[in-house]
């Protein structure tokens, strides 16, 4: 090997190696941020959607009011409705004011297919939301969480799924304090 071309070759390979390493690190950071649920879940929400009657819904919260968003699954809609109906009743019994202060929105995972069940539900069923909030809800559903927002549209807390309505009601009331 001739010394000058070899040296040149080594320098060029070192430079391209360093450049590729830098690009790899940046791409890895981008990948991690795209995989990180927290970075994709802003802590403010947007609340407007289409209810079971086909009309536009907005929560119109009172002072100190809260909005709880949770997903109802069309494949098991009756059990989901029963579960959340009991949660709402128990939350109201545990804290008299809470029932009035918390509005409950059940977001259907199958668009308008849950609409016929509105009369059975103690909460508002919505099949369509703004894309921003719908994506956040889809992410929360993947973790089995409900989302509790305050009257300023700021996320008060993620409410984990509880195995029974009483425990779920307690978790909601704790988050709403």
């Amino acid at each position: 090997m001739r010394p000058i071309p070899t040296l040149l070759c080594l320098v060029m390979l070192s430079v391209s190696g360093a450049r590729l390493a830098l690009l790899g690190v940046k791409e890895l950071q981008r990948y991690r941020s795209s995989q990180n649920d927290n970075s994709l879940n802003p802590n403010t929400g947007s609340f407007a959607g289409i209810g079971a009657d086909g009309g536009e819904k907005r929560p119109n919260l009172d002072d100190n009011g809260h909005l709880l968003l949770f997903v109802i699954h069309h494949s098991r809609i009756r059990s989901d409705i029963d579960f959340w109906n009991q949660v709402i009743i128990l939350a109201g019994q545990s804290h008299r004011q809470a029932r009035g202060n918390i509005k409950y929105w059940g977001i259907c995972d199958s668009g308008a297919e849950c609409d016929p069940y509105q009369s059975e539900a103690h909460f508002t069923i919505l099949g369509h939301l703004e894309p921003f909030e719908m994506r956040i809800m889809a992410g929360a559903d993947a973790n089995g969480d409900a989302l509790l927002y305050n009257q300023s549209n700021v996320l008060n807390g993620r409410v984990a799924h509880a195995p029974c309505p009483a425990a779920q009601a307690n978790l909601i009331l704790q988050s709403a304090k």
């Binding site: 090997m1 010394p3 070899t6 040296l7 070759c9 080594l10 390979l13 070192s14 391209s16 190696g17 590729l20 390493a21 690009l23 790899g24 791409e27 890895l28 981008r30 990948y31 795209s34 994709l40 802003p42 947007s46 407007a48 959607g49 289409i50 086909g54 536009e56 997903v71 977001i107 259907c108 995972d109 199958s110 668009g111 308008a112 099949g127 369509h128 939301l129 703004e130 894309p131 921003f132 909030e133 719908m134 994506r135 809800m137 889809a138 559903d141």
Partner: protein
């Protein structure tokens, strides 16, 4: 001895470069919000005028996620218009969607379907936290190309290439 060391160093650096390139390519394919081949439900939902629009069958779909106040959405208007023209020639359905209704802007362009409210299946497929996003789907709703951020000439060429491959 020095010659031998230099030869080994060159070989090692070539191998390292090769691995780095492979790593970069692999991570680059995964880093985007949308990956080629990802399945997306065919776009449907409530329009800005409050009417429901069911998914329509088309050879392809061009989805644009935009916001009224987003400067990058204005910056790439030339490129986006060019892409729209090519998508129209390919008989793609063109959909514009704002992350929240207050960011929506009525285009006044009858070629573009402007969705306001969407269902969870479509909502799960979108990542509307960045504007603009431009996504091309084939007739079955598979992602064939996407760009996050403002379009440039190169990205439009890639999109047009993806459209050509559909034929």
């Amino acid at each position: 001895m020095l010659k031998r060391a230099a030869e080994i160093a060159v070989i090692v650096l070539i191998v390292v470069n090769g691995f780095e390139l492979a790593f970069f390519s692999a991570i680059h394919r995964r880093a985007g919000l949308y990956r080629v081949g990802d399945q997306c439900p065919l776009p449907s939902g409530y329009l800005l005028n409050g009417r429901y629009r069911a998914s329509d069958s088309a050879p392809c779909y061009l989805i644009r996620v935009y916001a009224k106040g987003c400067p990058y959405c204005r910056r790439d208007q030339t490129q986006y218009t060019r892409l729209m023209e090519r998508a129209q020639k390919a008989r793609c359905e063109m959909i514009a969607i704002a992350p929240v209704a207050r960011d929506a802007e009525l285009y006044g362009d009858s070629r573009v379907v402007q969705l306001q409210y969407i269902d969870m299946k479509f909502g799960r497929a979108l990542n509307p936290f960045m504007t603009p996003e431009t996504i091309l789907l084939d007739d079955a709703g598979r992602v064939i190309w996407s760009e996050e951020g403002a379009l440039d000439n190169q990205s439009v060429e890639q999109a047009i290439h993806a459209l050509r491959k559909l034929r």
